[in-house]
């Protein structure tokens, strides 16, 4: 069976330049990056892609919601499981922007933080 090396092309999202990266998923060689951060992003994106989760959580005892985020990106594959957690979770009504709701969210080093009012 032939071992086909997969080449992936995608824009870098580290800065608004949006350099078009070409990454060899076998050798992890990155081309097209305009800076070293782009190279690191290219490798991470094909090996351990991460995303910041932004969503809303319910406020306990009310029918209202408040906007939250992870304060740093988490593994991309955790996004949908994280939403299962979020759906079952309710924050205290008195929270303010900047409050940490959950430390070590989904077992990562990211915290779930309030962003809305």
């Amino acid at each position: 069976m032939e071992n086909v090396e997969k080449i992936r092309r995608f824009p870098c999202t580290v800065c608004p330049m949006g350099c078009e990266l070409t990454v060899d998923t076998g050798s992890l060689e990155v081309t097209g990056n305009g800076c070293p951060r782009g190279k690191a992003y290219g490798v991470a994106e094909v090996t351990h892609p991460t995303r910041t989760l932004t969503t809303t959580v319910a406020l306990r005892g009310t029918d209202r919601v408040i906007a939250v985020r992870t304060d740093r990106p988490i593994a991309k594959e955790l996004l949908l499981p994280a939403m299962d957690f979020i759906r079952a979770y309710a924050a205290p009504e008195t929270v303010k922007p900047g409050d940490v709701l959950v430390e070590g969210f989904m077992g990562t080093d990211a915290n779930l933080v309030v962003t809305g009012k």
Partner: protein, 427 residues
């Protein structure tokens, strides 16, 4: 009896009146304050500040302005804090119903109606979404058709799920963001359809909103029919030709219960037109000088009401330009009207420029913002007038969905200046 009683509305003097406490209005007010203006009032029709940002709970805001990736509420919070620290008054629940050409602003609020006689006015009313009624889509009037922004408000501010089986028309950023948002909340986004042959939104959003979730994007495709009596049951999509007309025989039926429309933002300029201010027919916003002054002296415009932006960072920058200009205007003892020195016109490949006019100024360069009408790779941007070429610059990449900017030397900006993309270099 039939006696006519006319009561004049109470009139209040104010230095600087800003219409809208969104990111443009807040930035403008803060800049004016920092430039010395103290008598400032922001009229905001909602009961909160931040404009559209409080419902934009995703991140990506502020990368240029603050060097951080903030969510909409966080970005708005920064500016609200700046306004609060400076003691800038914001009147909530205050809707401006009329702007006259002598800077009298009629405001309706819970306390009644009054007129503010302003020495300077900054228009920062933002924009609206193009609604379904403006689209030639055949069909019944079932529930389940929302503009993407309306759905965003429902989900993010009201905790309501608009539907479960979603089709989105329009691949602008709002449509892409809502594709992700609905998916995260457990809905099934079956397709995003885009009538153009290229996606409308930022590339990062194509990756993070569609590719991440395996949501298909169908280019050169539009919705031609909606089915359903009480509730949407399906839509029919079809491919379109280069004139955006549906191609017979390409129709496909997609079952769904919700159609989200992300089909254009229109600057909200009812007040502007009513005041008789000159409008640029391409941007649908006021035609302005580089200091963002409109055709009425002392009336400035900034943010989405002037032209629809992609990055809120540029909105804030534009608010600062307008705020500074309003402050300078107020400080001038004699307000002498000067004719514009140059007119900037968009030509081949460039759809519009802001500013449209160049006034007298001190800065060495003038930054002209513009959008291209097509995608260009390694193309040459040319600014010229009757005296010859002012600037000829090779630009690696320009696409319609990303606002561009170019600095032009002020001393060369005289007469009729055109901005265009040289013919070779189409991608």
């Amino acid at each position: 009896m039939g006696s006519e009683i006319r009561t004049a509305l109470p009139e209040v003097k104010v230095g600087l009146l800003v219409i809208g406490a969104g990111p443009a209005g807040l930035a403008a007010a803060v800049a004016a304050y920092d430039r010395g203006v103290r008598d400032i009032l922001i009229c905001e029709r909602q009961d909160f500040a931040g404009g559209i940002l409080p419902q934009c709970i995703h991140n990506g805001f502020g990368l240029k302005r603050f060097g951080e990736e903030l969510t909409g509420p966080e970005y708005a919070g920064r500016y609200e804090k700046m306004a609060e620290e400076r003691g800038i008054r914001i009147e909530y629940g205050a809707t401006v119903t009329k702007l006259s050409n002598d800077r009298r602003v009629t405001v309706l609020s819970e306390s009644g109606m009054k007129v503010y006689a302003a020495d300077a006015v900054i228009l920062a009313m933002g924009c609206r979404e193009r609604p379904r009624g403006a689209l030639p889509v055949v069909g019944t009037r079932p529930a389940g058709i929302y503009t993407a922004g309306c759905a965003q408000k429902m989900v993010n501010r009201m905790g309501l799920l608009p539907g479960r089986e979603i089709v989105i028309l329009g691949s602008g950023d709002i449509g892409l963001i809502m594709a992700r948002r609905m998916t995260l909340e457990g809905a099934h986004v079956k397709a995003v359809c885009e009538v153009m042959d290229h996606p409308g939104g930022l590339r990062r959003n194509i990756v993070q909103c569609l590719d991440d979730f395996g949501i298909p994007l169908y280019l050169s495709t539009t919705v031609v029919e909606v089915e359903g009596e009480d509730r949407v049951t399906a839509v029919t999509v079809a491919e379109v030709d280069e004139r955006r007309r549906p191609i017979p025989g390409t129709e496909r039926r997609i079952e769904c219960d919700t159609l989200l429309l992300s089909v254009g933002l229109i600057p909200e300029n009812e007040l502007t037109r009513q005041a008789g201010i000159e409008i640029d027919p391409v941007t649908n916003g006021a035609a302005v000088r580089e200091n963002r002054e409109t055709s009425i002296p002392g009336v400035f415009a900034c943010g989405n009401v002037l032209h629809v932006h992609d990055l809120v960072d540029f909105v804030s920058e534009e608010g600062e330009i307008a705020g500074n200009a309003a402050a300078d205007y107020l400080a001038k003892q004699e307000k002498i009207e000067t004719a514009p020195v140059a007119r900037v016109t968009a030509k081949n490949g460039v759809r519009y420029t802001v500013p449209e006019l160049i006034g007298e100024g001190e800065t060495k360069n003038v930054t002209v913002f513009f959008r291209v009408s097509d995608s260009f790779r390694d193309a040459t941007l040319v600014a010229e007038n009757e005296n010859g070429v002012i600037l000829s610059k090779k630009v690696r990449r320009m696409v319609p969905g990303e606002m561009q900017r170019v600095d032009l030397p002020r001393e060369k900006l005289v007469g009729e200046v055109t901005l265009s993309v040289a013919p070779q270099g189409n991608s």
